[in-house]
């Protein structure tokens, strides 16, 4: 099952340029998954990967502290005020950083919160779409660029979320998060390939992250699927189990029922109706 994991493809094995949208909603946070995304992409080729963080929530000290020990080199944190987000000036800054790291793989982290105050969803999406091209041009055109985008669904407009989904190749939506018995962080996520070579796929997955930022990916069912209101095997919750008459058919009874010839059906499923004298048929009405 591990090989079929969409989450594993996103976090561990993607070699092509991609844009991954991380969606969260209170009381859950996708910040740890975004960190996992950076670290797993970095771990795939540590000597030739550069990480650019466009910090929009004033989180520069947080990112520096979080990544300081694990990514000692080539982490570029841009403290982006809203006014300068998604502008030519920022593109130029990222491009310059790209030119100093020729033939590198680039991971760019963006945060959409508050961007839509100053920028329309269209202009932000255009910025996201242009970003890989700018870096590729600056670094010789050979380096793939991955973008990880954090978006809080409960703070922003649904229209912004829809617009972002148009430019993203995959999305990871946190549905549940908790700490398991051994202290690891468990995330139940809806993982989707939105525009991928394998087409559109969607599945619920459990991503377990340990303290060393290694992850285990396993399938997970949504709460509704894993806890059906009426279980087919649980007779105590089946309302039909204590009736004084039988609602179910055995295979013999089902076969016998199928063999009964109905009077108005001749050889197939078409019903023939023979009118009698009392019928007043309107021949101009096609439904009759």
């Amino acid at each position: 099952m591990a090989n079929n994991s969409t989450a594993k493809q996103i976090f561990e094995t993607s070699k092509t340029p991609d844009t991954v949208l991380f969606l969260d909603k209170r009381p859950h946070s996708a910040l740890d998954l975004l960190t996992l995304f950076i670290l797993r992409r970095y771990a795939s080729d540590p000597t030739r990967t550069a990480v650019h963080i466009l910090s929009n929530e004033g989180r520069t000290p947080f990112w520096k502290e979080r990544l300081r020990q694990r990514l000692p080199d080539r982490v570029f944190v841009y403290d982006v005020a809203t006014e300068s987000y998604a502008t030519e000036a920022l593109l130029e800054q990222v491009r310059k950083m790209g030119s100093s790291t020729t033939d590198f793989r680039h991971v760019v982290i963006c945060d959409s919160t508050g961007v839509f105050v100053e920028r329309s969803a269209d202009s932000f999406c255009t910025f996201l779409a242009r970003l890989p091209g700018q870096i590729a041009d600056a670094s010789g055109g050979t380096a793939p660029t991955s973008i990880g985008l954090l978006h809080h669904s409960d703070v922003n407009d649904i229209r912004a979320e829809r617009a972002l989904k148009f430019v993203c190749t995959s999305s990871v939506t946190v549905v549940e998060s908790s700490q398991n018995k051994v202290g690891q962080q468990d995330f139940i996520c809806s993982v989707e390939h939105l525009r991928h070579e394998e087409g559109h796929t969607s599945q619920m997955e459990r991503i377990t992250v340990n303290d060393d930022w290694n992850a285990v990916y396993s399938p997970a069912e949504s709460i509704k699927q894993s806890r059906p209101y009426i279980s087919s095997t649980d007779s105590s919750s089946d309302p039909a189990s204590n009736l004084s008459f039988n609602l179910r058919l055995t295979s013999e009874e089902r076969t016998a029922r199928d063999q009964v010839a109905l009077p108005h059906v001749r050889g197939g499923s078409v019903i023939y109706y023979e009118p009698d004298e009392a019928d007043d048929i309107d021949y101009e009405e096609p439904e009759e």
Binding site: D24, L31, E57, T82, T113, D154, V155, Q185, V209, D211
Partner: protein, 262 residues
């Protein structure tokens, strides 16, 4: 000021402070029929921690309750005024900055009064105060307390303008500590609820007070949910405690251990 609260917040003693660069959100959530849970003591406690540790502080008050806080602090044995006199604590009345009342003889009274407060004005004033105290106390990182953010929504600010102001302020105080206090209703459609959600994602420490789900109680005033984001490891530390506001102190209990139950 409240040693038990420091313990619940994971601070070793009264001199231990939150790490530099921490953004703390304190949210009072009103759940009917229980009245507002009076969680403003948390911001007062954090303010006193920084003042005792000789850090310069800016208190930006939008509800003009500085005098009230000063009286409460004095009751609990903490002289806020002495720090204000020494210049270590700078109090800014947010209403005069955010929604200035026109002075007598102003050239164009109608324009100056009807104009909505601009985030730039608030930021400019805060930045000015910060630079003043940074010059006076250069060796210690500042602490800025802003209360009550939801007042700005009542003044007509757009919620996204408020987010932009908070982000800019966080960049401004990136080396120090930022404390935001806000109140919100349970209604998930309101702007206050959106602000509360934003603070949840934005802050490193999210401290939410609310009344008990089971209703009012004579022995417990409310519940404090503490959510602290781990910096280097994944996950968050989550704790819950109950509290009772008394005349000169606040009692904290682990859930289920209040005197009314035991």
């Amino acid at each position: 000021m409240f040693p038990q609260l420091s313990t619940f917040l994971g601070l070793e003693n009264q001199l231990t402070l939150p790490p530099p660069g921490t953004c703390i959100a304190v949210c009072d959530q009103e759940r009917q029929p229980v009245p507002r849970p009076q969680g403003s003591f948390i911001q007062l406690h954090l303010l006193t921690l920084f003042l005792r540790a000789k850090h310069p502080c800016v208190f930006f008050s939008l509800t003009d309750n500085y005098t009230h806080l000063r009286v409460i602090a004095a009751k609990c044995g903490f002289g806020l005024q002495s720090y204000a006199d020494s210049g270590q604590l700078k109090h800014l009345s947010g209403m005069t900055v955010a929604d200035p009342i026109p002075t007598e003889g102003a050239a164009d009274v109608s324009v100056s009064h009807s104009a909505l407060p601009h985030p730039g004005a608030v930021l400019k004033d805060l930045a000015l105060s910060l630079s003043e105290i940074r010059i006076k106390f250069p060796e210690k990182a500042p602490c800025v307390v802003v209360e009550d953010l939801s007042v700005l929504l009542d003044l007509g600010w757009d919620v996204h303008e408020l987010f932009a102001m908070m982000r800019s302020l966080r960049s401004l105080v990136s080396d120090g500590t930022l404390v935001f206090y806000s109140t919100s209703a349970e209604d998930c459609e309101s702007e206050e609820a959106v602000l509360s959600s934003f603070l949840f994602h934005f802050a490193d420490w999210f401290l939410e007070t609310s009344g008990l789900r089971s209703g009012s109680s004579s022995t417990i005033d409310g519940q404090l949910n503490i959510r602290i984001r781990n910096t280097t490891r994944p996950g968050v530390s989550v704790k819950t405690c109950h509290y009772k506001v008394q005349e000169r102190r606040i009692q904290f209990f682990a859930p289920g251990t209040s005197s009314g139950i035991l």
